[in-house]
Symmetry: C2
Subunit: 247 residues, 2 copies
């Protein structure tokens, strides 16, 4: 009876990983993950077999993990952030569905949107849409429809995978879609390497965001119509009605 833990490591630093995530890795004999994230948890991997494949080999990695579990091993598949947000939880569950004797447990972690939001202030204190700009598995038309819908309905927007070498202008395009309905002065923020070595962040307006050079380690947050810069932090109020006590 094999078991798979799909573990979210959080932003990367050990002090933002939950005890439950650590325990799950500790009880496994095999750990599968992308090289960069395996390096972040190197001290936890001593004595364990490792399944490491390159970035694009992530489905192959899940398959190897599921096969190892079918052989009776206890396996951890690790992702940065939360393994259920654009992560490995879905492919592992899909592949493991063919082996009813394998039990799969998803261990949540702090996802990039809230890690980045905490650094920038409190931009996510009202309804928000989480959208990936990666068109590797999703047609760009679907992405455009979602960005436009989120902008029109005044969601705060959190962009994952805002850019890569092959789609250097996607963030700019997303900004133009949002600018059709939202002010160019809307406060925005970006965080690169949130919560791990090399963390950096900044603020700009939606108009300025058009010329920002993001990469795949960057999370971008775009305010809604109520988001303000307050004491140099990006803050979305909790609601559209001001309660008596906040006036």
């Amino acid at each position: 009876m094999g078991k798979i833990y799909v573990v979210g490591l959080g932003p990367g630093g050990e002090n933002q990983m939950t005890p439950r995530a650590k325990e799950a890795i500790a009880c496994c004999d095999i750990v599968a993950g992308y090289g960069v994230y395996m390096d972040l948890i190197a001290p936890l991997l001593a004595g364990k077999e490792q399944i490491v494949t390159p970035m694009k080999g992530e489905i192959e990695r899940c398959r190897l993990a599921v096969e190892a579990a079918a052989d009776g091993h206890t396996v951890a598949v690790v992702s940065s952030g939360d393994a259920g947000v654009y992560g490995m939880a879905a492919p592992v569950l899909a592949l493991a569905a063919a082996y009813p004797e394998i039990s799969v447990e998803v261990v949540p972690g702090i996802t990039a949107s809230t890690a980045a939001a905490a650094i920038l202030g409190a931009p996510l204190t009202h309804d928000f849409a989480t959208i990936s700009l990666s068109d590797l598995l999703t047609p760009i038309e679907t992405i455009e429809q979602r960005v436009r819908a989120a902008a029109q309905a005044d969601f705060v927007i959190c962009l994952y995978n805002p850019s890569s070498r092959k789609r250097a202008d996607y963030l700019r395009r997303a900004c133009t879609w949002i600018l059709d309905v939202r002010s160019g002065e809307t406060p925005c923020g970006y965080v690169r390497n949130a919560g791990r070595e090399g963390e950096c962040y900044g603020y700009c307006t939606l108009r300025e965001l058009m010329d920002f050079q993001a990469d795949m380690f960057t999370t971008v947050l775009i305010g809604n119509s109520t988001t303000r810069m307050l004491g140099r932090r990006m803050v979305t109020p909790r609601g559209y009605r001001i309660p008596e006590t906040e006036k």
Copy 2:
């Protein structure tokens, strides 16, 4: 020079709280929070002054915390989940903006959407919208516009605060808006008290969700057009194009 930590405790259990959240509470001399959540961290509060007000007194609690920091204290304001998602981070930053000498640090936690998703399977592996059905601070017309926009653009939808005694039919109304454009067979899931004592969860179709009795401790997840039940778990595939390796 006072300091405020706005700390997300995660779902509630100590094994899902980050070391950083614990450290932040440990270095404070005053801790402010809602009674239920203070109880969850009772062992961490020994010897500390506590600011506890009833649920509706949360802004007053933030104000007392900010005033204590202005007096030179180190104060933690604790929330369940992530303090930046419908939490106390925004009001604390707004109130603290009047005192430039106070430094505010937001410590992220695992938010209810990903905690609930992990229990249900992997429903959030593609773009999703996080919406609160509480109309305490937001007009119901704005909520309706967002739910409809999210449904039309095929977002997975995560509902916070799906119901309360005063608005018992809000979840039902949200379902009718979504049913205008999404199949009644769409897989949905709900988790009550995710990650803490009394946790329970279940699955149903969108049509069945109309008659589900939620409460304020419940998080509801509504699949998009690709979400499936796989091996008795709720799974949204990672994308709309199937990569070669997943076929």
